[in-house]
C-alpha cells in the first residue's frame, strides 16, 4: 500500500471511529438541542470519512464501504484517541475539543499539500469543520473552569498528540495552551476498538456480499 493510501486511511479511520463514538450520544446528550447538534456533527465526521475512503478506494481498487467495514480491527489505522469509550460528557467534550484543534493543524497541512485531490478535499472538509470548531470551542470556553473538564483534557492530551505527526505537535500545544508530553502514538489499538468494530460491522457481516 502506498504511503498516500496509508495516510488517507489514517485520516478516514479517525473520522469514522470518532463519528461512531460521538453518535453513541444520540438520544442521551445533556439537552435536546445538544443532542441534535452533536448527532449532526457525528454524521458530518462520518461523511468526511466516506470522502476520504473514496480517495483511498480509487487508488486501492475497492470501495468506501469495503474499506470502512470489511477490514479486520488490527488493519484500522486510527489513533487510540478516537477509540476510547468515554462515559461522561466532560471527557466527550474534551475529546471533541482536542480533536478539532488537532484536526485543524492536520487540515492546514493537507490544504498546502502538492496532492491537488487531497488538498481540495481537505479544504472542503475544513469548511464544515469550521462549525465543529465553533461548537467545540464554545463548550470548552464554558467548561474551562470546571475541574472535571480540565482533568479530562489533561487525561486525553497524550492521546490527542498521537493523532498528529511529531512535527505538527508544537502547533497543537500552542493552540490549546498545553505543554508537550509523551504522546500515545498511533499504531496500537485499545481493546475498545474490537468491541466497537463488532457492533459497527455486525449487520454487514451478517449478509456478506449484500448490496444496500
Amino acid at each position: 500500500m502506498s504511503a498516500r493510501a496509508q495516510r488517507l486511511l489514517e485520516l478516514a479511520d479517525d473520522e469514522l471511529i470518532l463519528g461512531w463514538r460521538d453518535s453513541e450520544w444520540t438520544g442521551i446528550a445533556p439537552t435536546l438541542e445538544e443532542d441534535v447538534a452533536f448527532s449532526s456533527i457525528a454524521q458530518n465526521e462520518i461523511g468526511h470519512a466516506r470522502a476520504l475512503y473514496e480517495l483511498a478506494a480509487a487508488e486501492l481498487g475497492t470501495n468506501a464501504d469495503a474499506l470502512a467495514f470489511d477490514r479486520a480491527p488490527d488493519e484500522y489505522r486510527c489513533a487510540a484517541f478516537v477509540e476510547l469509550r468515554l462515559m461522561d460528557w466532560a471527557h466527550t467534550i474534551a475529546r471533541r475539543y482536542l480533536y478539532e484543534e488537532a484536526d485543524r493543524v492536520r487540515l492546514d497541512a493537507l490544504k498546502a499539500s502538492d496532492d491537488a485531490e487531497l488538498a481540495g478535499l481537505a479544504a472542503k472538509i475544513d469548511r464544515e469543520e469550521t462549525y465543529h470548531r465553533l461548537h467545540a470551542e464554545m463548550w470548552a470556553g464554558r467548561l474551562r473552569d470546571e475541574s472535571r473538564f480540565r482533568d479530562a483534557v489533561d487525561e486525553l492530551w497524550p492521546y490527542a498528540l498521537g493523532m498528529l505527526e511529531p512535527v505538527q505537535r508544537p502547533e497543537l500545544g500552542r493552540r490549546v495552551g498545553l505543554e508537550l508530553v509523551d504522546a500515545n502514538e498511533r499504531g496500537s489499538h485499545t481493546p475498545e476498538l474490537a468491541e466497537l468494530w463488532n457492533e459497527m460491522t455486525e449487520v454487514r457481516r451478517s449478509a456478506p456480499g449484500a448490496t444496500w
Binding site: 439537552t31 435536546l32 438541542e33 445538544e34 441534535v36 447538534a37 449532526s40 456533527i41 462549525y131 465553533l134 461548537h135 464554545m138 464554558r142
Partner: protein, 92 residues
C-alpha cells in the same frame, strides 16, 4: 434562555417562524440552531431572537362592527357586479 428562530428558505423570501431553541447564551443558541434548522440545507439564513425581546399583541377591540375592514366579513361580489354593469364591462 429561549430563542425564537426564524428561517429564510431562499434569498429574498421573508423569514418565517421555524421554532425555538433553549440555550444558555447566544453563542450556544447560534450553534444549536445551525444544526437544528439548517443541517439539511433547508435554510438560507436564520434569525435568532431572545424570547424576551419579542413583543406580543393579543388584545383586539372592535366594538362598532366595522366589518368592512375585516378580511372575512365583507363581500364585494355584488358591488362588483353593479359597478361592471355601470361601466359596461363584463367579466371574462
Amino acid at each position: 434562555m429561549i430563542f425564537e428562530v426564524f428561517r429564510q428558505e431562499k434569498k429574498g423570501q421573508p423569514f418565517t417562524h421555524a421554532g425555538s431553541v433553549v440555550a444558555p447564551d447566544a453563542a450556544f443558541a447560534d450553534a444549536w440552531a445551525r444544526e437544528q434548522y439548517g443541517r439539511r440545507g433547508e435554510s438560507e439564513a436564520l434569525w435568532l431572537v431572545p424570547r424576551g425581546a419579542v413583543h406580543q399583541v393579543t388584545e383586539w377591540a372592535d366594538e362598532f362592527d366595522l366589518k368592512y375592514r375585516r378580511v372575512d366579513g365583507y363581500s364585494i361580489k355584488e358591488r362588483l357586479r353593479i359597478a361592471r354593469e355601470r361601466a359596461g364591462t363584463t367579466p371574462t
